[in-house]
């Protein structure tokens, strides 16, 4: 054949192809048969196609001939293909129903017992920024969480108390890895705070019950803090505060970032200026150094490192009821280190993997009433999880965890030492099953083994969520939870085993542009709680013999829209809780579980002043205590707790924040309980002393300056 002829033929062919126009038409519907406008219909491999109109119909012409594939595409819907033969001028295509893909954004989420602080996800209760700007919290994560429903403020403790549970019943995690001694070491009635700076976290997941099988060893609650992924720019942050100061340097490029932070605090100068109710010998003081690094890997993974070491101390005198003089001398020195590294990656085939390792080391040197005590706690945690998304409807999570836990306490004078070495192993799996966009089921199992307690156990967890209206959803969560007793009890008797809790939670959530309303009711049963004779500092006859319950209802309303430049939230929680535990012989209402809890947080931004004003009011109806002058246990209740806080953040320049805050502006004398003399006086009365606050008010002034090439950077950008 002549090549020229060939070219001519090809040319003719091409021309024919170009002129043979076939017309196609049809209709695109959604799952329910409703016309779907905006879908993209095209012939595979060509530019020919059309968009479906308001009535779902489409019509277009194509030059393609013969066997072709017609593709139906629409973002958020599953793509469908249809084989067609273009052999006539006009072709009617059968009706096509496109099925919507289920994504995190368009589907229901399980909100029972779950509260999130995040910038990315929906159903968030707080944003990371809220944690640092909530007045009264003084930059403490737990302080901000105490304004949420399901929590109680216990002002002489400072830790997180959830729904009638004690502070040890909250498990704290950073990037999924357990943190040992997450709160600063403190002594009785001196409130503590979280060791970690909220600025290093980008998101917080706080559960008040019924939580995922991924977490365990916490009877009431899981608090999961997620660190930032990758810093964006090189900058230095200076903080000068009324209680100390610090510097943080961040170095960053596209692939990795590293931050080194050092802080020092000392309350002494402040306490010299402002009269204190506590009799301090040496005001609380301490330093910390923290390193965090993030590295993006070539194949898309991310490796993070977080390491922190700190030391601090305090000395004070605690007056004793029925005694004269300064009372009992307490001296505390603490050294703490935490280090963790984790890796995660997601693959195109639907697998996501996570691996991590953490070590927490805490050392307390205590002198209580001339008795020196040394305490050491070392917790190591290794964890590996794999998630597989089988489809947009079914996903599976499996994981394994291993803990090594060493604890010792030593009475120096008597050279008496108590200790334990523990190893725990866990396996967990959790399955999410979307029956539709509106209905999701989640089932999980968590199996554990403790070498020391010689116990194995399995905890089932089950939850579901159903969307009832456009903006409203109902969800239900339930599960069983095990937790080993606190360290000092286990050191005395290593054979004591798990306490047990069961949760049932029903939640209603309504959210619509800047408005969120949440109502939740719950029932929690406790079993095999620790009981003993004597008092908590010297218990005898430890046994898993206590039981109890907590039930109640809570409400949360957050509104960021109705009032201009104003954001507020209101929480109310009712908790009815009783338990037989510790030294109590009957079921009592614990002193950390006030019945009525209320908080109101308001933030108002004034553009002309470049300022954000904030106020927080917290209230509860009082704490139970045992008055030995009356019969019975936990027979009395303190007056109500009330605290009004105020804060003012001023941004005079983009890289400068001045923050002023007052806790308990009105100076209300809150009382958290009473301590009683162990023996009655001559009149036969047990003398008492109230347990109060360190001072009526706490004032804070801080200046935060960011140094960077980009002059608009400030401390808050880290969030």
């Amino acid at each position: 054949m002549n090549p020229r002829l060939l070219l001519f033929i090809t040319f003719i062919l091409l021309q024919t192809q170009a002129f043979a126009q076939a017309s196609l038409h049809g209709k695109v519907l959604d799952e329910k048969g409703v016309p779907l406008p905006g879908a993209n219909i095209l012939i595979k491999g060509s530019y020919d196609g059309a968009t479906s109109g308001q009535d779902g119909s489409y019509r277009f012409e194509t030059s393609a001939t013969g066997s072709q594939v017609l593709v139906f595409k629409f973002l958020g819907f599953k793509t469908q293909e249809l084989a067609i033969t273009l052999d006539q001028n006009s072709l009617e295509i059968q009706q096509i129903k496109l099925i919507e893909e289920i994504t995190e954004m368009n589907s229901v989420t399980i909100s029972a017992g779950a509260m999130e602080a995040s910038d990315e996800k929906k159903s968030v209760v707080l944003r990371p920024l809220d944690i640092v700007t909530t007045s009264g919290a003084m930059g403490d994560i737990v302080g901000a969480l105490q304004t949420l429903p399901g929590t109680s403020t216990v002002g002489n403790d400072g830790r997180l108390f959830v729904r009638g549970g004690d502070a040890s019943e909250v498990g704290i995690y950073i990037d999924g890895l357990r943190v040992g001694n997450a709160y600063g070491s403190s002594t009785a009635n001196v409130p503590t705070r979280t060791r970690f700076n909220p600025n290093i976290f980008k998101g917080t997941f706080f559960s008040t019950g019924g939580y995922s099988a991924e977490y365990g060893q916490a009877l009431s609650s899981a608090l999961s803090l997620n660190t930032k992924d990758h810093s964006l720019r090189t900058q230095g942050d200076v903080s000068i505060m009324s209680v100390g100061g610090g510097y943080s340097q961040t170095l960053a490029n596209d692939k990795h970032s590293i931050s080194l932070t050092a802080n020092y605090f000392d309350l002494k100068p402040y306490q010299n200026l402002v009269k204190q109710d506590f009799d301090w010998e040496r005001a609380p003081n301490g330093w910390d150094v923290e390193l965090s690094a993030q590295q993006k890997l070539k194949k898309g993974g991310l490796v993070k490192v977080l390491a922190r070491t700190e030391a601090g101390g305090m000395e004070l005198w605690q007056t004793q009821p029925g005694e004269n003089g300064r009372g009992m001398y307490v001296n505390l020195h603490n050294k703490y280190s935490y280090a963790q590294s984790n890796w995660r990656n997601s693959y195109d085939n639907g697998w996501s993997l996570f691996g991590g390792l953490s070590v927490s080391s805490n050392k307390d040197d205590l002198i209580i009433d001339a008795t020196p005590i040394k305490r050491k706690n070392l917790l190591s945690h290794a964890k590996f999880t794999a998630i597989k998304d089988f489809s947009d409807r079914v996903s599976m999570k499996v994981g394994t965890e291993y803990f090594i836990h060493n604890y010792s306490e030593k009475l120096q004078l008597e050279n008496e030492e108590r200790s334990f070495d523990e190893q725990e192993t866990y396996f967990f799996t959790e399955w999410d099953w979307y029956l539709s966009k509106k209905l999701v089921l989640r089932g999980g199992l968590r199996a554990g083994n403790s070498q020391l307690a010689e116990q194995s156990w399995v905890d089932p967890r089950l939850s579901l969520a159903y969307q009832v209206s456009k903006f409203g959803q109902v969800s239900l969560a339930s599960g069983q939870f095990h937790q080993l007793p606190i360290e000092n009890f286990r050191a005395i008797d290593p054979t004591i085993g798990n306490s047990k809790a069961k949760h049932l939670i029903l939640n209603y959530l309504f959210q619509k542009d800047g408005l969120m309303f949440r109502a939740e009711t719950f029932y929690k049963s406790y079993d095999e709680l620790i009981r003993f004779e004597g008092n908590p500092s010297n218990p005898t006859g430890l046994r898993n013999a206590g039981a109890g319950y907590a039930r109640g209802v809570d409400f949360f309303l957050r509104d960021r829209n109705s009032i201009k430049n104003t954001d507020y939230w209101i929480s109310y929680s009712f908790v009815d809780s009783k338990r037989s535990y510790n030294q109590y012989e009957t079921e009592v209402q614990p002193n950390f579980a006030p019945k009525h809890n209320f908080s109101l947080v308001v933030k108002h931004f004034i553009p002309t002043l470049k300022s954000q004003l904030g106020t927080t009011f917290s209230f509860n109806d009082g704490y139970t205590f045992t008055d030995p002058n009356e019969s019975g246990e936990m027979n009395s209740k303190t007056k109500s707790y009330q605290s009004l806080s105020f804060s003012w953040s001023y941004l005079p320049r983009p890289n400068l924040i001045i923050h002023f805050a007052v806790q308990n502006v009105l100076g209300r004398e809150n009382i958290f309980g009473y301590s009683y003399a162990s023996n009655p006086n001559e009149q036969g009365v047990f003398e008492s002393l109230p347990t109060g606050q360190p001072a009526p008010r706490f004032l804070f002034l801080g200046i935060f300056l960011t140094l960077s090439k980009d002059k608009t950077a400030n401390n808050l950008n880290n969030l």
Binding site: P3, N40, Y47, A713
Partner: protein
């Protein structure tokens, strides 16, 4: 005979190839770019977006179709009464696809920042603090990738103006950048021919910033 068949096969392959890349691609893109100029409602915007996505489907080595689809999704969020966040999230997805085809492209990087600006505008109080630096970083990166990209400079000037207004500082920096971008737009205009497919939008926004400077 064998030889001829081979030639035939080759020529057909060549024809098919040519059809997919140059003239047909250009024609298809031009058709959509022309339609893009007359968009008056969301339906039309969706039609043109889909048009670009069809081209993206057929020519999977080209970044421009994804780029324009993302730009349309972004503009739709600004112009029409739709689920704005959803539209911007889809735009981000499309930008990611464009970026995979042409990594380190200044236009794609600048558009990514523009979409973040849109996200910020929907919730300045909640997102501003965390997203503004991301957007600024993207604009900075886009400028570094191509110093002649007027959109990168113009968008950054808009961010600068917003900051200056908020903090009551002078708009000098924003004005300087706006003027710079206008010069770049002039240079760009000189390059535009009938077959020009690369982005040319954004001059009006630069003019707006410049109009606040005296």
């Amino acid at each position: 005979m064998k030889k001829y068949i081979l030639t035939l096969a080759f020529s057909l392959v060549w024809i098919a190839f040519a059809q997919a890349s140059d003239p047909a691609f250009i024609a298809a893109m031009q058709k959509q770019l022309k339609a893009k100029k007359t968009i008056a409602n969301y339906e039309q915007s969706q039609e043109v977006t889909n048009g670009f996505l069809r081209i993206a489907d057929a020519s999977d080595s080209e970044w421009l179709p994804f780029y324009y689809a993302a730009l349309l999704k972004t503009e739709a969020a600004f112009r029409f009464d739709i689920e704005k966040d959803k539209s911007l999230d889809e735009a981000l997805e499309l930008v990611k696809k464009a970026d995979k085809i042409a990594p380190g492209n200044s236009e794609i990087t600048a558009l990514n920042g523009y979409i973040l600006m849109g996200k910020i505008s929907l919730d300045p109080a909640g997102r501003g603090q965390s997203m503004s630096p991301q957007a600024m970083q993207l604009f900075g990166k886009a400028i570094n990738l191509d110093r002649e990209n007027p959109r990168a400079v113009s968008l950054m000037s808009q961010m600068e103006l917003g900051m200056a207004e908020f903090f009551g500082t002078g708009p000098e920096k924003a004005c300087g950048m706006a003027r710079m971008s206008l010069d770049l737009y002039k240079k760009e205009e000189a390059k535009i021919t009938d077959e020009y497919l690369l982005p040319t939008w954004g001059k009006m926004q630069a003019d707006q910033v410049a109009s606040k400077c005296n």
